[in-house]
């Protein structure tokens, strides 16, 4: 009886795990659209005003601030090779900064800018730029 039970638990456990993973990964709109909720990446909740201050502060390694290169509100990049950040999804920006910090994504300036950022600072910057008005859009209705 108990052997049968443990066997069925063994059978069901991976299925439950799989189901949980699929359920977590699904698309769909949630309350975090406004960019104030903590992300699934385990970062703390971002704070817009702290993000704004940090976006204007000179980075130690480069002597440049975010705004110096990406422009006011992240909407006016100094060079065409730099992306616009205003209105971008905050959780994508968090992901990008985490990748630069870890070395998974590399850029001469961004790798330096991101390497000493804390989780809280990444969350703050991402929410700040995500909250700015922007020129970016998804591709719905474009074809």
């Amino acid at each position: 009886m108990s052997r049968a039970m443990t066997r069925s638990v063994r059978l069901v456990a991976p299925l439950l795990l799989g189901l949980a993973l699929v359920a977590c990964g699904g698309g769909g709109e949630h309350a975090s659209e406004e960019g104030h909720a903590s992300s699934s990446a385990g970062l703390p909740t971002g704070r817009v005003s702290e993000g704004e201050a940090l976006a204007n502060a000179k980075g130690k390694a480069t002597g440049q601030s975010c705004i110096d290169c990406h422009g006011a509100d992240g909407n006016n990049p100094l060079d065409d090779s730099y992306p616009k950040l205003g209105g971008q999804y905050y959780d994508y920006l968090e992901h990008a900064l985490q990748q630069y910090r870890s070395g998974a994504r590399e850029h001469a300036l961004m790798s330096q800018q991101a390497k000493d950022l804390s989780d809280q600072q990444i969350a703050d910057l991402a929410v700040y730029f995500g909250s700015r008005p922007g020129q970016l859009r998804d591709l719905h209705g474009t074809h």
Binding site: V22, G25, S39, D80, Q88, G134, Q135, L136, L139, H143
Partner: protein, 148 residues
């Protein structure tokens, strides 16, 4: 008595898991038709060329003039992920970025980096591997002209 119940439960769970799956594989599914329309000769020809020209890839690509009309056709596939409002990448979970309105150079660099493998994302690397330099210029031209 408990045995049939647990078996039934696991079957139901398996069925649920299977019906939920298409959602997460949507990107791959939608990607297939467009990449299949690419001429296969083009794919094999461009790979060594791209590897040889790797250091100079960015300036060379920037010199190509993109055709937004061609780019419109090539980006049908992109809508599978970038065209759904609120659509999320699965592991790790974050919104697929808004790419309409970025500069042509930024978009072109991103696609070249994915194609070379210096920027990593499984779906984007797979997509970019099928694009020629001209395709990338066309896509960048179309996307960069989009307005909010």
């Amino acid at each position: 008595m408990t045995r049939p119940l647990t078996i039934a439960a696991s079957l139901a769970l398996a069925l649920l898991a299977l019906t939920s799956l298409p959602r997460s594989t949507q990107a791959q599914d939608t990607a297939t038709p467009a990449t299949a329309t690419e001429p296969p000769a083009d794919e094999t020809a461009q790979a060594p060329e791209a590897a040889a020209a790797a250091p100079a890839a960015t300036p060379a690509a920037a010199a190509l003039t993109g055709n937004p009309d061609e780019g419109r056709v090539l980006t049908y596939t992109c809508q599978g992920c970038h065209g759904l409002v609120g659509y999320r990448n699965v592991y790790p979970t974050y919104h697929v970025p808004r790419i309409g309105g970025q500069s042509a150079l930024y978009l072109s660099n991103a696609l070249h980096e994915y194609r070379k493998g210096t920027r990593k994302h499984p779906t984007m690397q797979a997509q970019a591997s099928s694009f020629s330099d001209q395709d990338i210029a066309d896509i960048a031209a179309f996307l960069s002209e989009l307005k909010p």
